[in-house]
């Protein structure tokens, strides 16, 4: 997935002279996860550069550059470190088009590795997406595989408004199925690991049905797409697994069609439960599919605690917990 993200930035730097890429350690070094490797050498230090450690400064300069007419692609080293930038994101980037009636815009892409599963402890494992979904004016995207990652990142860079692009770091090197005690499969063995060369897009705002099923709809995104697939396989429940890909704007039609068909719904995310994006999904499903629902909607999520270092696999909503959720949804 790292190569797919790198390719997306490479292509956009090449196609559009207004694209610039910057962040902490992204220049010469190529980023702590190597996502920007080689880009500075190729496009020079005024297109791809290191910055001081100041996430709010990164976002603020990106807003200024956006107002000028550039398309900044900013890396926040870990999603956990995006909080210093929330004011610039919420009060500025997300509001700029509105408050200036389109005179000034902020076509910024904010990339940030999110999620746990690498023993990163509470400050290298968070999934803060719900916060951004509450902020009108922000688009929030989380890919689950290299093909989508590249296509969605190109769409995000081309989007004329700010996009929060969260990259599940547990997926950088393979489609993690949720069994941390088994060997990692590389992306090369996964169909969506195949990434075409060159430019293509995956549209923002469109979910993908990664598995059709009749029994229950599973709404999920990021790492949990693969975990949900494992849970479906292991539980034998005929789940329809939907990879939301974009959280805002949400692809309501795909969700509603599926839940109307299955009559049941399980929502899976890694973030803490309370007021997580699962809450909004649950509200939307019951508002739009109330008369189709045969059982309560089930949320399988991270606990409402910080992500603990040594207990991360007890925190992580793995295949067992998801399967348990599927069964609960079927019984209800």
């Amino acid at each position: 997935m790292v190569q797919a993200l790198n390719a997306a930035m490479d292509i956009m730097l090449g196609r559009d002279a207004n694209v610039v890429v910057f962040g902490e350690d992204v220049g010469y070094f190529g980023g702590v996860f190597r996502c920007t490797e080689g880009l500075q050498r190729k496009y020079g230090p005024s297109r791809v550069f290191d910055t001081p450690i100041a996430e709010a400064g990164l976002l603020a300069t990106a807003v200024g550059m956006g107002a000028y007419g550039l398309r900044p692609v900013v890396e926040i080293q870990f999603a956990d470190y995006i909080y210093p930038a929330t004011d610039q994101l919420i009060s500025e980037a997300a509001r700029l088009r509105y408050r200036s009636v389109g005179d000034f815009t902020a076509p910024i892409t904010v990339r940030a590795p999110c999620g746990g599963g690498i023993f990163g402890g509470q400050t290298h494992s968070q999934s803060p997406e719900a916060i951004f979904t509450h902020v009108c004016g922000l688009t929030t995207v989380i890919p689950s595989n290299p093909y989508d990652a590249k296509g969605l990142l190109i769409s995000a860079i081309e989007d004329d408004d700010p996009v929060i692009f969260l990259e599940p770091k547990r997926l950088y090197n393979g489609p993690f199925d949720g069994h941390h005690d088994r060997p990692v499969t590389p992306w090369t063995e996964h169909p969506a690991g195949e990434v075409p060369d060159g430019y293509y897009t995956v549209p923002l705002g469109k979910a993908s049905v990664v598995r059709s099923g009749e029994a229950v709809t599973v709404l999920t995104y990021g790492t949990m797409v693969h975990v949900a697939m494992t849970a479906v396989a292991e539980s034998g429940v005929d789940g329809e697994v939907i990879d939301l890909r974009t959280l805002i704007p949400i692809d309501i039609d795909t969700i509603v069609d599926s839940v109307r068909k299955t009559g049941r719904c399980v929502i899976v995310h890694e973030a803490t439960r309370t007021s997580g994006f699962g809450a909004e999904l649950s509200a939307l499903v019951q508002e739009n599919c109330f008369y189709s629902l045969e059982a309560p909607i089930v949320r399988v999520t991270g606990w409402d605690t910080p992500y603990p270092h040594s207990l991360e696999w007890d925190y992580f909503p793995g295949p067992k917990r998801v399967a348990e959720g599927l069964r609960r949804a079927m019984e209800g």
Binding site: G57, V63, G64, R99, P249
Partner: protein, 410 residues
């Protein structure tokens, strides 16, 4: 190793509170013309002392003296005087309009007119500005339409911002005036980003940002100086030290033991402190900083030392926290009066011409007001359709906003 005395918290206190005599004895006002004017290529380290001086051009006889005298021709100076008077007349009229219920809120820049006006004149009109809510003088100097500004203040049917922003939060890309944010300080580091973009593109336009001395405490201020210094961004960073942040005197912002200009020293930025009520000095330092930026020499920090003569806003009553007559004691006088005296001293102005000009700018404001009011005021409630509320959240309206607009009946 133990201390002999117990520790104690120092909480800065202003020299005078309501009921006490105004006290500006702490303000050191050096004679005009005494601060050196270095070459723009100077090593910032060599001019560290400038951060503690006060660059002044107008002397006690209203003559322009010393190396910072920009030697402006009389016509240019009269243009500056006019823009300052127009700014003040506009402010007074809008203040009254708020009191008359025509809008919800207003903020004047009374006593600080030399900042917006003097700096706008020293910049190129194509340079980009990232102002606070007290630099309406920039727009006025650049000849922006008063009617358009009033439409914004009134949130009326012609308000280009569609009533979305509080009064005075102007925005005009055409005038190179960045959309004002209600959040303090955020625009200061954005100005640096804009300037970096201009440098990345090999453009020739520079940027300027403004911040109040109170807001310098925000992290954004530090980010601005850091990024400006690291990338040698072509940006002028202006601190308007008008002594107050709402009720808090500048000591609460950190001005008790040093100057605000000195903040720039630690970033290796040349840092100038200027008499903010001296139009010519303001013009000159701004021009110096602009020349540096244009020559790829990087950013300059300027402290404009001035005084907020009026209330913070229409919601504020300064007699609650400072001596009621404090403004009269401000040792640097009034920027309009000082420039008027200068023109008179040059033999380029008279009481009569001044009276004419005052009447002229009043008339201009009155005419604009008449027109703006014809498009409605917040008080009369004529405004854009509620349907417009859902536009521009995103470039393209997503389904959920369309649905919400329908819910509202549009």
């Amino acid at each position: 190793m133990k201390n002999a005395v117990p520790l104690r918290l120092h909480v800065p206190e202003p020299p005078a509170r309501p009921g006490q005599e105004a006290d500006f004895s702490w303000v050191k006002v050096p004679p005009a013309g005494t601060v050196t004017r270095p070459d723009i290529a100077v090593d910032p380290y060599e001019i560290r002392r400038h951060a503690y001086e006060l660059i002044r051009v107008l002397d006690d006889n209203a003559a322009a003296v010393g190396p910072w005298d920009p030697r402006l021709d009389a016509e240019t100076v009269r243009r500056g005087l006019r823009a300052m008077m127009l700014t003040r007349a506009y402010d007074e009229r809008m203040f009254r309009a708020q009191r008359q219920g025509k809008t919800s809120f207003y903020m004047r820049c009374t006593g600080e007119e030399a900042v917006g006006v003097g700096q706008a004149m020293a910049l190129d009109d194509r340079d980009m500005t990232f102002p606070t809510y007290r630099q309406q003088g920039l727009l006025i100097t650049r000849g922006w339409s008063l009617v358009d500004m009033m439409n914004q203040v009134f949130s009326n049917t012609r308000d280009r911002l569609k009533g979305r922003q509080m009064p005075i939060m102007y925005s005009s890309k055409e005038a190179g005036f960045f959309s004002i944010s209600g959040n303090l300080a955020t625009q200061f580091s954005q100005a640096v980003g804009w300037a970096m973009a201009s440098a990345i593109k090999g453009d020739d336009r520079i940027a300027a940002g403004w911040i109040g001395e109170g807001a310098t405490a925000e992290g954004d201020f530090h980010h601005a100086l850091t990024f400006a210094s690291v990338y040698r961004a072509p940006v002028i960073l202006n601190i308007v030290n008008n002594q107050y942040a709402i009720s808090s005197f500048q000591g609460i912002a950190g001005g008790e033991r040093t100057t605000f200009a000195a903040r720039g020293l630690g970033y290796g930025l040349p840092s100038l402190r200027v008499d903010g009520n001296d139009f010519l000095a303001v013009y000159a330092v701004t021009r110096w900083a602009a020349d540096r930026a244009r020559a790829n020499l990087g950013s300059t920090l300027i402290e404009l030392f001035t005084y907020r003569a009026a209330a913070h806003s229409t919601s504020d009553d300064p007699s609650k926290y400072r001596p009621a007559d404090e403004a009269r004691h401000w040792p640097l006088g009034d920027p309009i009066e000082r420039l008027r005296a200068h023109l008179v001293a040059r033999g380029e102005w008279s009481d009569e011409r001044h009276g004419q000009l005052a009447a002229e700018v009043d008339g201009e404001v009155r005419d604009a007001l008449r027109e703006a009011e014809s498009y409605g005021t917040l008080g009369t409630g004529e405004h854009h359709s509620p349907a417009t509320m859902f536009d521009d959240v995103f470039k393209e309206m997503p389904w959920h906003l369309r649905r919400q607009r329908q819910e509202l009946g549009y």
